[in-house]
Amino acid sequence: MIEGMERIIREHRFFAGLDDETLAFVAGCTRNVRFDAGQYLFHAGEPANEFYLIRHGRVALELPVPGKDAITFQTAGEGDVVGVSWLVPPFRWLHDARATDLVRAIGVDAKCLRRKCDDDHNVGYEMMQRFVPVLVDRLQATRLQVLDVYGTSR
């Protein structure tokens, strides 16, 4: 079972090139999950205790707006990771994540991995090296979205 998970994680784009020892540890903190269209992976404000490696389907990352529909600021698909806030205090989600169609993913127990990062800073550094680029990419994408480079249609 764990061997199967190791293979799946090794083949996932986000954890490509992970060393065997860390891979084995991560695999021990994982489970297969499935979300139907419309189901939430997590909501803003909830404890960030599990993040997801998407294997199939699409997830909308949304900001809830009181009295209005939530605003989708990005979608994640196969090969992407959903959930970054598990790595930094206060370990709570900052946005919603909603499956827009059937989603199959690997859920990673973030509490388990946080403990490992605290105990073994090499693992912690490895996680930072993989998750910080996600944050940088998202920041850069947000800058471009704010610039509204395509102009306004009348």
Partner: protein
Amino acid sequence: MLPVARRVVRTRRELADVWTIEIEPEGDSFAFLPGQFNMLYAFGVGEAAISISGDPAESGRLVHTIRAVGKVSEALARTRPGDVIGVRGPFGVGWPVEAADGADVVVVAGGLGLAPLRPALYRLFGERHRFGRVVLLCGARSPKDILFRSEIEHWRARLDIEAAVTVDHADREWRGNVGVVTTLIGRAAFDPSNTVAFVCGPEVMMRFAAIELESRGVRPEAIHLSMERNMKCAIGHCGHCQFGGDFVCKDGPVATFEQLRRRLALREI
């Protein structure tokens, strides 16, 4: 270099402020290279550089797609069948489709940038056997701003093309990707070491798309961008479109990221 009077034979509204107009060519045909542009003259209003958006294999049809953003483009966009406009061209350096022979091709289009890329896409699709993987990545402001949407759907249905669309903003009715077009580059399947990329859109989008392509391993000399500047004479004499030591009308509009990288970072030009 005088404009030739030509009749508009067909018009089509693409988006709220974008029209495609088809002009009868001089004689039976009008030969052009993908990525080239014409100077179109709305008599009594003025002249503007407009990319050719039709199929180079159909030389009997001269097609332009125009966003109505100023007096000239508005006058051109609102022409009707039977109206007469002036045409000069074709001008400029186009997309080097031949350079992609045997290579993977990644086409990144942002907003109206798909219009100058469409002739290259027609050629790529028409001579599909000559290329490796062909990837089309389109970005738009919102679902209602996706240019040539039905055509993109048609392309997406082809098994020999990977086509993806993303929008910057969407409501819940939209079931596709949300995020800037550069986010699609990391997800696309191609061999960076043997890839030729064509990128067209707003300059800031092209800059970040080129950076993303390069970070995936595409050589900067294999990344081609189409620049936009205020073109007047279109033959490199007037200097309006000077960009560093080059004239965009004559030396471009298409140039490599290798050639443009330093200038793209300069605010003064």
